[in-house]
Symmetry: C2
Subunit: 146 residues, 2 copies
Amino acid sequence: MTERHLHSETGTTRGDFRMTPQRAAILEEVRAASEHLTAGEIFERVHRRYPSIAYGTVYRTLHLFAERGLILEFPFGDQASRFDKRVDRHDHVHCTRCGMLTDVDVPTALFARQVAADQTGFDITGHQTVFSGVCPACSTATGLRR
Amino acid sequence: MTERHLHSETGTTRGDFRMTPQRAAILEEVRAASEHLTAGEIFERVHRRYPSIAYGTVYRTLHLFAERGLILEFPFGDQASRFDKRVDRHDHVHCTRCGMLTDVDVPTALFARQVAADQTGFDITGHQTVFSGVCPACSTATGLRR
DNA sequence: CGCGAAGTAGGATTGATTCTCAACTGGGAG
DNA sequence: CTCCCAGTTGAGAATCAATCCTACTTCGCG
């Protein structure tokens, strides 16, 4: 049944896993980044410090961290998944021109989750709102054309 | 189709396209579907009627339609993009187990858009909330509670 | 010291999506 | 009616993200 999750995700990160140099480097890069990085970008950066690191290791580690709540993963689509150092709930604004992704704090209704759960019967565990639009830079740059 | 809006600076062809049999078939399949199909599924179905149709044609057409607002595209990340016949604004619930995608109508704050616009300076044109969770079928199927 | 579990490198592999390009189509101009 | 052209299409190669596989290391523990 559920013994897959023996480790408590609630408390602290136990000695569930080893904090190896590779993992530490990956975590550092994500935290050092000013924006949201894709897995590929993270790989590149870590690779500079650990030229021997493998792509697979980065993915494995990133997912491990995401599972443990050390970082957040956002599976976007038009591009690669991005990872965020912020772990508190927040939403994003996505520029349809340049692809930039920015954080926003929207007092999103928890109530919305309830509505969604009621309508679908799902057991809702999370939600994320993505606003689409054109960032200031892009809109002034070329003038809107739609 | 007699509606033409030829724009001078055509980066992409907007405003004029032929409704070929292939395109009609693709549109029909999307509209006939009870749920959200991936590009691959759409290809399969159309392929039954037009065995000669190419994968590329399906993608090309799907994007064309999405651009013109005939359908909506939802690019996920861990899975394939899905296409929706509904073009009115609505949100989705995504089952993390089986990947099912369901529509929901959440009266999410239009107000949220305003907040997002204020915070980022973006010209917000749309927004979409994705709720993650486990669908009724999956949760009862395995008796797993979370 | 030796075993087993956890972790890693590296490359092969899968899957979705896009791109390239030659052949084709339909409608309007001549 | 015939030719020309922009828009389309088919087929497969090319991309690109993400996962899988396998042998090699390391670490913890008795």
